[in-house]
């Protein structure tokens, strides 16, 4: 059979047309998401994994509609800021952020810097380059969104999608009050790491606790990298402390909990920020000595619960992708930030920073940890104890090798237990 030239031409043209239409998404330049993260630490690598998972899911579903039917894929560019490491100056994190903006030419910043000091210092940079940034991990200082509210025009590009220290303080006192009513606990000892957010939050807790009638038996601040907490724990024991409130994101906080168990300190360890206890590997790492430890993983989805229909869907997807359950602060919020960004870009129909800022301010979606909305003045995610109303937190307790969510009650799967050596 002889093939006519006209048929061949038609086949060729159809092939070209098909190739071009199929390649519409791929031919476009990807939207670059820059992630400045302290990748050697929990709050860094879990955020990177959260972002990556969301990007993979969005890209698999076709990408982001940037307007006019134009679909573009996301691409992640991560840089190690090292800002959680002891002794690393803030300037290192700033250099990393600037490198992402100027050298890697990212379109948006998602993630960090992770340390409060570094994130605050990065705000003028973001303003200078008009780069929209969504903080998703680590940074708890209330000063961040206060600065946005105070100088809106300058810092309007800065958003934070996870809870902050004031929320955490409120959540903690809800639990303290319950423990007071249920077990008669009244003596509070505070142990904090010598970093901005922890020092600040510890002092806030001290002031509020005193006003609320708690007997604050001590406040110990340990340098980053400290490996011996025995004297602080002995002080807690001598002062008949009932609750040890801990604010630490350094890996060495696991040592504190081991010492607490070995010394059988009759007080409940209640971590507000306690990176070591957030991770699923904590049980094995402490040989179960960390049982009864409480910690705040800041947002739902970082521990198993059914806050929203998306929570366990995310939880399982993360576990399948990375071979480990969502690990702590920054996991669900980093994942969610990419979806929120996608939603904002699609509504804005553009990558223009000012248009995306306006769209982000109008965000209203049901996410992994509840309803996600930003305060239009401060750009802080609106918190709530009801996932239908706002972003909910999660406080968990280690019980028999499992992370059991005990707060808020709307999503709790268990109740707080006291260690046998302090049963009242």
């Amino acid at each position: 059979m002889k093939t006519r030239p006209i048929n061949m031409l038609i086949v060729f043209l159809m092939t070209v047309a098909l190739t071009l239409s199929a390649g519409t998404v791929r031919a476009e330049k990807p939207i670059l998401i820059g992630c400045p993260l302290s990748t050697a630490f929990l709050y860094g690598w879990d955020a990177e994994r959260g972002v990556t998972l969301a990007v993979e899911e969005i890209n698999a579903a076709g990408g982001v509609d940037v307007g006019g039917g134009q679909k573009r894929l996301f691409k992640v560019e991560t840089i190690d800021t090292r800002d959680l490491e002891p002794g690393v100056p803030v300037s290192e994190a700033l250099l990393a952020v600037e490198k992402l903006i100027l050298d890697k030419k990212v379109d948006f910043i998602v993630g960090g810097p992770v340390r409060s000091e570094a994130a605050l210092a990065a705000m003028p940079l973001l303003s200078k380059y008009k780069k929209v940034s969504i903080l998703t991990t680590g940074v708890l200082t209330p000063k961040y969104h206060a600065m946005v509210a105070k100088q809106y025009d300058k810092f309007k590009y800065c958003f934070r999608i996870h809870g902050e220290a004031k929320n955490l303080v409120g959540e903690i006192f809800a639990n303290f009050n319950e423990l007071k009513e249920k077990y008669g606990l009244n003596n509070l000892f505070i142990i904090a790491q010598d970093v901005s957010h922890a020092r600040g939050a510890a002092n806030i807790i001290k002031d509020i606790a005193t006003k609320k009638g708690w007997n604050v038996t001590g406040l110990e601040i340990y340098p980053t990298g400290a490996t011996d907490f025995s004297i602080g724990l002995l002080k807690a024991k001598e002062t008949k402390t009932d609750i040890i409130n801990i604010w630490m994101d350094m890996p060495e906080s696991a040592i504190l909990l081991k010492q607490w168990y070995d010394m059988q300190i009759p007080a409940l360890p209640f971590g507000s920020t306690l990176a070591a206890a957030e991770q699923p590997g904590f049980w094995k790492a402490t040989d179960g000595k960390g049982e009864y430890t409480l910690c705040n993983v800041v947002n739902a989805g970082n521990a198993p619960s059914t806050a929203t229909p998306w929570t366990m869907k995310f939880y399982d997807a993360y576990t399948d992708r990375w071979g480990v359950e969502p690990e702590g602060l920054g996991t669900s919020s980093s994942y969610m930030a990419v979806y929120v960004l996608k939603d904002a870009i699609e509504r804005a129909g553009s990558l223009d920073s000012d248009k995306v800022v306006s769209a982000l301010e109008k965000t209203d979606m049901m996410g992994v940890y509840g309803r996600i909305r930003f305060d239009p003045k401060s750009h802080q995610v609106i918190p709530s104890t009801d996932p239908k109303e706002g972003a909910v937190g999660s406080i968990l307790q280690w019980q028999d090798g499992k992370r059991i969510v005990v707060y808020p009650k709307s999503i709790a799967t268990g109740e707080i237990l006291l260690p046998p050596w302090m049963k009242k």
């Binding site: 990748t39 050697a40 630490f41 929990l42 690598w45 490491e85 002891p86 002794g87 010598d194 110990e220 601040i221 340990y222 340098p223 990298g225 400290a226 490996t227 011996d228 025995s230 004297i231 602080g232 002995l234 024991k237 890996p251 060495e252 906080s253 696991a254 040592i255 081991k258 010492q259 070995d262 010394m263 059988q264 300190i265 990176a275 070591a276 991770q279 590997g281 904590f282 094995k284 790492a285 402490t286 040989d287």
Partner: protein, 288 residues
Amino acid sequence: MDILIYGTINSVALALYALGFALVYGISRLPNFAHGALYILSGFITWSALNTLGFNYFVSILLSLLVTGIIGAVIYQFFLIRVRGMEISEIIASYAIALAILEGLRWGGFKGMTYTLPVFISGSTTIAGISVDYQRLLAVAIGAVLVVCLWLFTRFTRIGLALRGMAQDERAALMLGIDSDVMAVVAMGLGSSLAAFAAMLLLPLGNIVVESGYNVLILAIAVCVVGGIGSWPGAVLAAFIIGFAQILTVVYIGSHYQMVVALLAIILTLILKPSGLFGQQKELEERV
């Protein structure tokens, strides 16, 4: 009483950190800035042998001591020997090796807080009303035995005497047929094994974290500077001075000043007595 008990524990921990560093400098005049990195590396070697290769804990520890010692010897034989006698170059080269080890570990995925070693004996006891866990008591006891063993080794064995000869006068030792390069390799291997030994005793108390390699180095340097660089008795005495000063600071001033103590000790020593407590050779140089 709590100051006495935990001051002693803290002091022994500092002495264990510093002994290997002091030994290497005392014999070969080499400031081994890879000391902290070798300490952490040995922890990960033990962890890997125990959890990945499935070896017995005791075998894993022996393997770690041996491998870390060999790595130390190799570092000297292939890298540091080339810059021997050039102090600044020695510091730069050994610190570069430390960075390579620590960043290599991090790059290899050894990050986070879930790497731990089991304690030798679980549980705790009460001494004069103060709770202390058995692992810490064991660290103190073994630390004391180690110091005695080192003293015996350097006085009653051929290698130990050769090392002392080197430490006292390298040229005289050479004239007596002691190969200074071989002894320096032995010293580096032994010093690295001592770092690993300290790690085996102290790491089960917490977790193996790459970043703590830098802290170990700083503490070892502080102890050696105060004690007189290269002097083992000086290192032990300085460890007790700094160890108790740290605990007293935590009790009476504030826990967040405890790291300042070590750094302040270095500064004060360099101002008041640069040779340190027992730095006799340096002291002679200062007099001249």
